[in-house]
Amino acid sequence: MPGLSGRMSTVIKAKISKLLDRAEDPAETLEYSYQKQIELLQNVKKGIADVVTSKKRLQLQEQKLRDQVVKLDTQARQALAAGNEDLARTALERKNVAQTELQSLDSQIAQLEQQQEQMTASEQKLRAKIEQFRSRKEVIKAQYSAAEAQVKISEAATGVGEEMADVGLAMQRALDKTENMKARADAVQELEAAGTFEDLTQLGAGEDDIDRQLRQLSSSSEVESELAKMKAELGSGSSPSAGELGAGAPAGEPAQAEQAGPSQGQAP
C-alpha cells in the first residue's frame, strides 16, 4: 500500500532491524531485545506518573482559582456597597479573567485524564506483548538451531518491536501536550500572584501594570453588565446617601434603603 501508511511502516521496520543487528548470537539478540522492552515499560510507567503529577498540579490550581472567583465577587459587592465603583469594577475584571482561566483549566484537566487512560491502556498492552515475547524467547532458545532461531527471533521481535515503537510514539505525544500545559499553568500562576485584594483600603493607591493588563484582557462589556446587575441587587441606585453607609450591606436589603432615602419612593 503506497503513501501515508507505507512510509510509517518502513520507518518502524528500519528501527526494529537496527535493534536486531546489535547482537550476533541469537540468544544474545533475544536477551538484548527483552532488556529493551523492559526498559521501555519502565519509561512508560514514569511517563504515566508525570501525567498524573501534572494533572494534580492543575487540579490544585483549579481549586485556588475557584476560591479566588468567590473572593473577588464578595469584594466587588463590598466595594459597591461602600460606594467605590472603580474598586468594584477592578475586582470584577479580575474575576472575569479568573473565570476564563478556570474554563481553560477544566478542559486541560479533562485532556490529561484522557491521556492518562490511554497511556495506562498502552502499558497493559505492551506488558502482555512482552510477556508473550518472554515465553517465546525461552522456546526459541531451547528448541531451535541457530539458523532457525534467527528467523523466529526476527518474527517475535518485529511484533513486539512495533508495539514498542507505537507506545513510544504515544508517550512522546502525551508528554509534548503535557509540556505545553505546564507552560500555560505557569502563566496562570502569575495571574494568581496578582491575587485578590488583601485589604480593600489598599485599592486607593491607583492601578498597577497588572490592573491595566487585566483591563485589556477582560471583556469590559461583561464586566459592566455584571456591575449593573450587582448594583441592582444591592439596590444602591444613584442615591448619594447610600454611599455614606458604606458598611458592606448584604445584597438585597430593602429596609436599609428605605431608612436612608428621605421619603424617596424606591422602585421594587
Partner: protein, 92 residues
Amino acid sequence: MIVRIATEGQYELTESDAEALDELDNHAVGACEHGDEEQFNTTFKELIDFVREHGALVAEDRLEPSDVILPPPDVSFEEAKAEFSGEGLIPG
C-alpha cells in the same frame, strides 16, 4: 490483513476491506499532495473510522507485525505531510 492505528492498536481486516482502505488512503495522500488540509482531515477521519468499524481488535497476546500502520488519529496536517515526504512521524 493487520492494520495498526498508531498509538491506538492493531485491527484485523478482510481482504475486501483492505481494498476499500486502499482507496481511502489514496484520497488522503492526494489531499496531502494538493495541500488541501480540510479534505485531508475529512478523509483521514473516514479512514480511521473505517478501520475501527470494520476491523476486529487483535488479541493482546498475539505478536504479529502489521501490514499497514496508520498515523495517530490526532495527527496534524503538518505531521501528515512530513510523514508522506521527508523525516516521517518517527524520525530516525
